[in-house]
Amino acid sequence: MIAERTAGFARQQHRFFLFCVAPSLAVLAIITLLPSIYLLVTSFTPLSLTRPETLWDFSQPLENYRQLRADERLHNSVWVQIKLSFWTVLLQLLIGLGLALLLNVKSRLLEALRTVFMIPMVLPPIVVAIIWKVIYTPDISPMHGVFRAIGWNVPALITDPEWALTAIIIADTWEWFPFTMLMVLAALQMLPQELIDAAKVDGASGWQVTWHVTLPFIQGVLLVAGLFRLIDSIKAFPLIYILTDGGPGSLTEVTNYYSFLQAFNFSYLGFSSAITVVLLAATLLLSWLIVRVVGWGVRVD
């Protein structure tokens, strides 16, 4: 009798949960899954908006992918992407870690400073891009003003082939160091004080505590923060669009940006779709890696 009622209850509960989840899954399927499939489909066509007949032309489905392998400009864009990702992720981790260690002290002032340091990250990306456009435009830039005053002859960084990518890296690092800083701070707050006390009792210096106790404790967080920043660095757009437009030449043209140019400047949507499919696969792989590292898949209930 009771068993029967519990079984009925379980069924009822199951139906209720389905009723709650179904709308979300249906909407997500329509707005994310279908478009991804459509993207894959267009990547098999030579689609160009100037030639409408190319929309359903599947005569040479793998032609775009063959071109991917031959396109020098694309290969250059991947190389630019690697340089940008490497330097921004590295600098953001180092600066974020340094600041977090500096600010991880119980004090009203330092807690207020955390909020202040957070500002670059929460600013709309377009505002960040405008801020750096101002700084990199010699006429109105306070930075160039200072350089002139002390007699340095510094070129406009974003139009200079030697400096353009560095200029983007600096701006991107400024925008996102708060992210790694906040993540490390969150992890540091979970560091048991006993561990530090024990090390100090054993005679460890401040540096030794940081190196042998604190760093090992937060290395997992650093890895996750780095992975998140790595995925985001693949999406870099507003900074490049506003500051350099991919130039000079294609020195700051990352793959995402090249794909954007192919699709919406040159109207080669088919080819651009093929590039984007590869990008999407890369982000999927990295997301899967994060899920594995964080261990969301195995939920303990």
Binding site: L18, L28, P35, T115, V116, V122, P124, I126, I130, L269
Partner: protein
């Protein structure tokens, strides 16, 4: 150490403060170096903005951001609750799907949406933007709310069921009110995502549905270098963001990482 931290904070914030000051300067003042500390502040840049098309774009941004936030919460919150209580298999795959939707490069959605919107006549409409913002915001809602529900003990709704409440009542009358702070934080983050978006709006709008970030960039590209107005536009876009971010600063990290690290 504290002194060093203060110096670094001032240094890190100076680019931001510079833009803020610029929005109150005349053109002559903007080009002056070294800058005067006390300049005659003017609101002319803001006045010029408010009488231009920018006002419409600002309204578009507001409407689209609010609409996409409300929709994502309506659809996503029950799902977050159910997924939190659901112990069946498949949870991992759904998690990966949701994470991937958050992480996908925007261009991956933009190309198919652009092609389909041309036929559905959704290009340059607010509706079109609301739909594409759902891709990120719906995932964000599920992702942020689930850990909140994980923390609420099951005994709460079970007690309500025993007292004769239906499951739906248990959810709406017991669980929802308890998750108020989480809902507020999630709503704000959804709003901010839509409000901050540049890429989707750049490609899917032209004039009618243009949002504020795209409008500001248009000052640069089409109306010469009106630095004062650009700075004023930028400031107006970032003001609501700064206020809201301050309110939800505790939830920022878990919102961005889906609870990988709890701040």
């Amino acid at each position: 150490m504290t002194g060093l931290a203060v110096v670094l904070a001032v240094l890190a914030l100076s680019p931001f403060v510079w833009l803020l000051l610029m929005s109150f300067k005349t053109n002559a003042e903007i080009f002056r170096f070294p800058p005067r500390l006390l300049f005659d502040a003017t609101l002319a840049n803001y006045a010029a903005l408010w009488t231009s098309e920018f006002r419409n774009s600002f309204a578009n941004s507001l409407v689209v951001s609010v609409a996409s936030t409300v929709l994502s919460l309506l659809v996503g919150v029950p799902a977050a609750y159910a997924l939190s209580r659901w112990t069946r298999r498949g949870g991992g795959a759904i998690t990966l799907w949701i994470l991937a939707s958050r992480m996908a490069p925007p261009i991956a959605f933009t190309i198919p949406y652009f092609l389909v919107y041309r036929h559905l006549e959704l290009l340059d409409t607010r509706t079109g933007l609301v739909i594409i913002y759902l891709t990120t915001n719906l995932s964000l809602v599920i992702w942020m709310m689930r850990p909140f529900y994980d923390q609420l003990p099951r005994a709460l709704e079970e007690a309500a069921w025993i007292d004769g409440a239906t499951m739906w009542q248990g959810f709406t009358r017991i669980i929802l009110p308890l998750s108020g702070p989480g809902l507020a934080a999630t709503a704000i983050l959804c709003f901010l995502f839509a409000w901050n978006d540049f890429f989707f709006a750049l490609i899917l709008t032209r004039t009618e549905a243009m949002t504020a970030p795209v409008a500001v960039v248009n000052f640069m590209n089409y109306e010469g270098w009106e630095w004062g107005r650009i700075a004023a536009g930028g400031t107006m876009i970032m003001l609501p963001v700064l206020v809201f971010s301050f309110i939800v600063r505790r939830y920022l990290v878990s919102g961005l990482t889906g609870g990988a690290v709890k701040g």
